[in-house]
């Protein structure tokens, strides 16, 4: 790769990355660092959803399955095999494999059909995984979940921050490369007009299944990091609320933009934290979800393309 050929936007993202690496030296407050870690994790989760919805046009109501699998396998491995890097790698690896297998299976079963079949099957499966996690108490601790210890090397919050940041950056640049590649353009073509893409000679289902697998694997990595950040896993990682959250993050930030869902994740996480902390000021903030819903309605009305989508559309209009 010739460094002189890097696009302006790549330089911009690299500068942001550098700033994020030095941020823990400036922000030492633990709670703030934790929020930033959550933004990285949900940013990864939202990017994985964007690959599915934004780039390929596949709607999932159960994307949380993959997130939950990553979280549980990591938690169980660290709990049962001991708090070592080896256990972490084994847990994460099993999570990724399971996510790849489930997304392959769901994709093969439904992606030949209309997109709502994928949405319905993922919704049903997420319910099934939630019940399985509740009932398999000896392994999962049921609804109460279980705590576990982290390997020494990432017990220090700064180290966990760096680990999450590395994953976040690698996944962002990896997905950016994928979506800008000819493969990514075929995904976008499928999203726009499936019939047309198939009559250009593309086996559409093959591309959709690959997108589903990549998206599932990335979501499972987000689940791995989520479990590490909380040092705790319960059935909440399979809750439909999380899929709704990630859907909102993607829509608020702008579908099919990759950077938009990260911004969406940041806004939603900050709004969640900030609105919850205002509970002492007025009771309405205890019900922060009402404000959150209002914010969502306003965004959909005034920014139907999401934040990044609207900015890009305005810039394109100016350059016309």
């Amino acid at each position: 790769m010739n460094i002189q050929n890097l696009e302006k936007s790549t330089w911009f993202y690299l500068c942001i990355t550098l700033l994020l690496f030095i941020l823990p030296m400036v922000i030492t407050e633990r709670s703030l660092q934790f929020i930033i870690i959550q933004i990285f994790i949900f940013g990864i989760f939202a990017m994985s959803y964007d690959l599915l919805l934004g780039y390929t046009g596949i709607i999932s109501f159960g994307h949380v399955i993959f997130f939950g699998l990553g979280a549980y396998t990591t938690g169980i491995a660290l709990d049962r095999l001991g708090a070592t890097i080896g256990s972490l790698v084994i847990g994460a690896f099993i999570g990724v494999l399971l996510a790849a297998f489930v997304s392959l299976l769901v994709g093969m079963l439904t992606l030949r059909l209309k997109s709502h079949f994928y949405a319905m099957l993922t919704l049903a499966l997420s319910g099934l995984f939630l019940v399985a996690a509740e009932k398999w108490r000896p392994m999962t601790g049921g609804n109460d979940g279980f705590t576990f210890r982290l390997p020494d090397i990432i017990r220090e919050p700064n180290h966990l921050y760096i680990l999450c940041l590395i994953f976040f950056v690698l996944i962002f640049f990896g997905l950016r490369r994928l979506t800008n590649s000819p493969f990514g353009k075929v995904l976008m073509a499928i999203r726009e007009n499936e019939n047309r893409t198939t009559s250009l000679g593309y086996k559409v289902v093959y591309y959709k299944v690959i997108a589903s697998i990549v998206s599932g694997v990335v979501a499972s990595l987000a689940g791995v990091l989520y479990a590490l950040s909380l040092r705790f896993v319960n059935t909440g990682v399979f809750a439909t609320d999380l899929t709704i959250d990630v859907l909102l993050m993607t829509i608020i930030g702008g579908v099919g933009t990759l950077i938009g869902p990260i911004i969406g994740a940041g806004l939603v996480e900050l709004a969640h934290h900030w609105l919850s902390s205002l509970a002492d000021v007025h009771w309405i903030f205890e019900r922060w979800i009402i404000l959150y819903g209002t914010l969502y309605i306003l965004v959909v009305i005034f920014f139907p393309l999401g934040i990044i989508g609207t900015i890009r559309s305005k810039l394109a209009g100016r350059n016309k």
């Binding site: 000819p182 353009k185 019939n195 009559s199 250009l200 000679g201 593309y202 394109a316």
Partner: protein, 236 residues
């Protein structure tokens, strides 16, 4: 003697519960432009979609290059060398002109590069707006992009559906010219309502009426037969 590249025999097809094609039979000869004519709703577009595998055939045979393609997946049919330009052009609005072209390319080699250069010389607007999004092009530019995209591969047969639809007369002339030039490189099955364009480009014609092929012959014979034009095409 010219050989038949595409042969459609007694094809029947439904769209949902509606019986649209009752009995379509036609032969497309290599190196020629065959035009499907007929009134609105006669079944011309459905015929092209059925050949392309986008509609199921309930009865009859379709052979391409001597090989059965009936009810094959559309991507397999496309990979056998049939390019399709749909009525709505099927441009990917959020991809740039360049990306629309690249998505269509099946094999990157020297011959494709030469074809790409040739087609960009034929449609200079596409070169000019290479980085512009497909959705921002004018109707004529979209049509040119749709035709160029089907032509960029070495397809032996192009199915082109109403390329003059909704275009200004001057653009129709340009599209007619481009089809005439493409004729030297590929066989074309054209659906066209604009009789002027059809007669300027076509060698043979088939008239479809109520889902059946009712008449066929050489285009110059039809041009001279006022009675047939009035009866089947409503041209006075």
């Amino acid at each position: 003697m010219m050989s038949s590249l595409l042969s459609v025999k007694n094809v029947e097809a439904f769209i949902q519960q509606y019986h649209i094609l009752h009995d379509i039979s036609l032969e497309v000869q290599s190196g020629e432009v065959t035009v499907l004519l007929g009134r609105n709703g006669a079944g011309k577009t459905t015929t092209l979609r059925t050949i392309m595998g986008l509609n199921k055939v309930s009865k009859g045979d379709i052979t391409y290059n001597g090989e059965q393609i009936i009810n094959e997946q559309p991507y397999r049919i496309a990979n056998k060398g049939i390019g399709y330009v749909p009525e709505d052009q099927g441009i990917f609005g959020e991809l740039t002109v360049g990306e629309n072209m690249r998505v269509a390319v099946k094999k990157e080699d020297e011959r494709t590069t030469k074809r790409m250069e040739w087609i960009l010389d034929l449609f200079p607007d596409l070169k000019k707006y290479w980085k512009k999004q497909g959705g921002q092009l004018s109707g004529g530019q979209k049509q040119m992009l749709a035709i160029a995209r089907a032509f960029v591969n070495e397809n032996d047969l192009l199915l082109i559906d109403e390329p003059s639809k909704g275009l200004a007369p001057i653009i129709v002339e340009k599209v007619t010219e481009s089809i005439q030039q493409m004729k030297e490189h590929a066989t074309i099955l054209l659906v066209e309502q604009n009789f002027q364009m059809a007669s300027n480009t076509g060698d043979h014609f088939y008239i479809i009426d109520d889902g059946q092929t009712v008449l066929n012959g050489k285009m110059n014979e039809l041009q001279e037969n006022q009675e047939l034009k009035r009866k089947y095409l409503g041209i006075l």
